[in-house]
């Protein structure tokens, strides 16, 4: 069967124009062939006598198939008509028959191991499910296309192996450290979902031998990021150099002086913070309050306000929240001041401490001085400036020692509400979570509104829930009139 076109793989012999015994010469048309596009006359390229017709009329054969044999008068052995080699059939996929020995503990419902590992496709989703359910993919027979392992296969195997003692299951190949023996009694289904982590974070965790599973993820959908891993590794271990108990009147100092390496300074700072937090929890009787604030008016106003500003001068919601807190102090002044030697001294000035997370881990809360007297633009500028200098390690001593109340805003990290620890000798800490769209009832109707959860942690020696509630209410009211901030 000749090739009669670039896209022809096979042809149908429609008609023979010769029969055995006919003499033909080169160029004679001997047959009519259908190529699926058209019927074409086929010529013969050599002369001789037709010996045998090998393909019948109506047969469809691949290009290269011998159609007939011709006996050339000059030769004793008849050469075939279409002498080209038959087309090479596509090499069959190698099937490596290597059935693994059946698992000793495997129940009869699970079938024996399938052919070579490389040949079987497993989709990422199925792989993840298998990991979740603690199922060994190698031990499963795939019922999908080309032996692919399907969800059903995995789920079926999980049911079957649920009763299997864990010792029979091979180690699961993950980056996280192997589960402690205590988990052996836990059924396969209870294994936790594999942690979402950025590639960079995953590698860092591996380097530092940190278990990703235990980390809080601040990335999208709770993904663990580099910063999260760094934060975790900076948490000082109990065996670390024990900080001396600072006297009750001690105020937080600026990070350790610029002697020694950055790492040493960093460690010193972490230790100082740790000491402070411990003391706070030990000495201050905290009480906690929370409220949800509707920010629809606030954010609408902000959007309009920002459209008139250049990109560099745009206000962030944080500026409004801070200003509201600063102004609310005027209504409930016992939130603002210092507790020293069991004596509370309210502060006339409002120096707002702003909790800032550092790239290398650690939280620092320097002050924006006189926050209640700054315009929103000035406040925004001061905040940006503070953040930049805090992260560059260039804060002033007064900024560290002067905050009269602190605000912590973990909203951007994805946290919805935060109950903080008061920084002694302050007496209150305001927290703001993430601004999220929530259902909200107003004027008898339910709609979606941007809501932020504001929390207060306050010193019960100075104020009580009633006063705390008034403070939060004041913050709410101030935020409802953003143009007055």
């Amino acid at each position: 069967m000749p090739s009669l076109g670039a896209d022809m793989d096979a042809g149908t012999l429609l008609e023979w124009h010769v029969k055995p015994g006919d003499t033909v010469k080169r160029g004679d048309v001997v047959a009519l062939v259908d190529t699926d596009k058209a019927a074409i006359d086929v010529e013969i390229f050599q002369g001789g006598v037709i010996e045998q017709l090998l393909v019948a009329e109506g047969d469809r054969v691949p290009v290269g198939t011998v159609l007939a044999t011709v006996h050339s008068p000059a030769e004793t052995t008849p050469p075939p008509v279409a002498s080209p080699e038959p087309p090479r059939a596509p090499a069959p996929r190698p099937v490596v028959a290597a059935p693994a020995p059946p698992h000793e503990t495997k129940p009869p419902t699970v079938e024996p191991a399938p052919p070579a590992r490389q040949a079987r496709p497993v989709s990422p989703v199925v792989r993840r499910l298998a990991h979740q359910l603690g199922v060994d993919l190698q031990a499963i027979h795939g019922t999908g296309r080309s032996g692919a392992i399907t969800r059903a296969d995995v789920e079926g195997a999980a049911v079957a192996t649920a009763s299997t003692p864990p010792a029979a299951r091979p180690a699961r190949p993950t980056e996280a450290p192997p589960p402690p023996p205590a988990e052996a009694a836990v059924p396969a289904r209870a294994r936790p979902t594999p942690t979402r982590a950025s590639p960079a974070a995953r590698r860092r965790a591996q380097e530092l031998r940190v278990d990703l599973a235990g980390l809080h993820g601040s990335g999208p959908d709770g993904a663990v990021t580099l910063a999260d891993v760094d934060r975790a590794t900076q948490t000082p271990r109990p065996q670390a150099a024990a900080p001396t108990q600072p006297p009750t009147t001690e105020r937080p100092t600026a990070p350790a002086a610029a002697t020694g390496s950055a790492a040493e300074r960093h460690l010193a700072m972490r230790q100082a913070i740790a000491a402070l937090m411990a003391r706070s929890k030990r000495e201050i009787p905290h009480y906690y309050l929370a409220t949800h604030i509707d920010l629809q008016r606030t954010l609408r106003w902000l959007q309009e306000e920002n459209s008139a500003r250049s990109v560099a001068d745009r206000l962030l919601p944080a500026a409004l929240l801070l200003k509201a807190v600063a102004l609310a102090i005027h209504e409930v002044p016992e939130m603002n001041g210092f507790m020293e030697a069991d004596q509370f001294t309210p502060s006339h000035a409002v120096h707002l401490g702003v909790a800032i997370s550092l790239r290398q881990g650690g939280l620092i809360a320097p002050a924006i001085h006189d926050a209640d007297r700054l315009s929103l633009g000035e406040l925004m500028h001061a905040l940006r400036d503070l953040v930049t200098r805090a992260r560059a390690g260039r804060l002033r001593g007064s900024e560290m020692s002067d905050p009269t109340i602190t605000v912590t805003n973990l909203g951007e990290q994805g946290v919805e509400s935060v109950f903080g620890v008061i920084y002694p000798p302050q007496v209150a800490l305001v927290g703001f979570g993430k601004i999220t769209e929530q259902p909200w009832a107003a004027d008898g109707m339910v709609g979606a509104r941007p809501i932020v959860t504001a929390t207060l942690a306050a010193d019960h020696r100075i104020s009580d829930g009633h006063r705390g509630g008034l403070f939060l209410a004041a913050i709410d009211q101030l935020l409802q009139e953003p143009e007055a901030l």
Partner: protein, 337 residues
């Protein structure tokens, strides 16, 4: 459609030709014919793949036109180029190896039947886009003019190209800038399956060329001596700095457009009528009649051609495929320091 009977035979053609030269012309045409016939066989046997556009019936055009060109002139042709390549002097073995996809082919197996290139003979393809070679020819001619060289760029194309915008742009630009392009239009009446009359409102191609101020005339493309004379006249004009020229070579292909198609667009009668004007059969008959050649001589020529083609096929068969590791070499040329 042109009437096949109109083919003036001018006295000066036979007068200037010597018998030896004419036998050489016949040999060249026969060489192309036998080469193409062998290609049919090899394609059927899947040795040659892709598209194969045969020159059978049109041999007089390439052979006659080549007599007008110098070795330093440039040639731009189409995908129906085996005849031009052979007539130009590219080795049959190199062409065959190219169609076999071997590295010994003139384009290292990168181009196949439609893209033959040869630096030594200034053969710039082999262009598979209808009309795509015309601007290239204009540029080659521009380079010659700017560098003060009196070379001709011979640009072969089919009548189908006349419908493409690039034809008109190129005619205009060549004429506007008086560039030494020799536009040689091989009118075989069918662009694949579309007859000229079905595609052009004005089927007189020389009129189209003339509208761009090019000297233009038609010639019987089945008569090798007529072609030789016409193209020589045009080439002399072009080489002398007279600007571009257009020659319409009226010819016919005896086989399908590419390898096989059922040729539903023309009648078997029409094909037979043109076959009676087969350039090789008619010319060899004339030469034998004039005693420039006898049947022994013809047989010798056939035998020599047969041997040359056998050798070309053997060369191609024995050739090597380019190593796949070389795949991305020659995508860019390295700058010479």
């Amino acid at each position: 459609m042109t009437s096949p009977a109109a083919s003036p035979s001018q006295p000066e053609q036979l007068a200037e030709a010597t018998p030896q030269h004419n036998v050489q012309l016949l040999r060249e045409m026969l060489r192309i014919r036998r080469f193409e016939e062998r290609c049919v066989e090899l394609y059927s046997a899947t040795k040659i793949r892709g598209f194969l556009h045969l020159y059978i019936g049109e041999e007089a055009v390439a052979v006659g036109a080549m007599q007008a060109l110098d070795p330093t002139d440039a040639m731009v042709t189409t995908y129906r180029e085996h005849g031009h390549a052979l007539a130009r002097g590219m080795p049959a073995s190199s062409i065959m190896a190219e169609m076999y996809g071997k590295v010994e082919g003139c384009s290292r197996g990168h181009g196949g039947s439609m893209h033959l290139f040869d630096v030594a003979t200034r053969f710039y393809g082999g262009n598979a886009i209808v009309g795509g070679g015309l601007p290239l020819a204009v540029g080659l001619a521009l380079a010659d003019k700017l560098q003060g060289r009196s070379r001709v760029t011979a640009c072969f194309f089919g009548e189908g190209a006349v419908a493409e915008g690039e034809f008109h742009e190129s005619m205009n630009l060549a004429a506007l800038w008086r560039l030494p392009v020799l536009f040689l239009c091989e009118n075989n009446l069918y662009a694949m399956g579309t007859a000229l009359a079905r595609s052009e409102s004005e089927t007189d191609l020389t009129l189209k060329a003339a509208s761009y101020e090019l000297p233009a005339w038609p010639v019987d493309g089945m008569d090798v001596l007529a072609v030789q004379a016409a193209v020589r006249r045009a080439a002399t004009l072009v080489r002398g700095g007279g600007g571009p020229c257009f020659v319409e070579l009226r010819t016919y292909r005896f086989r399908a457009h590419s390898m096989y198609d059922p040729e539903l667009y023309r009648t078997k009668d029409e094909v037979e009528t043109w076959k009676r004007r087969d350039p090789i059969a008619t010319f060899s008959a004339r030469l034998i009649e004039k005693n420039a050649l006898d049947s022994d001589g013809l047989a010798r020529i056939e035998a020599e051609i047969g041997a040359e083609i056998d050798q070309a096929v053997a060369f191609a068969e024995a050739g090597t495929p380019e190593p796949v590791g070389e795949l991305t070499r020659n995508v860019y040329r390295e700058a010479t320091p």
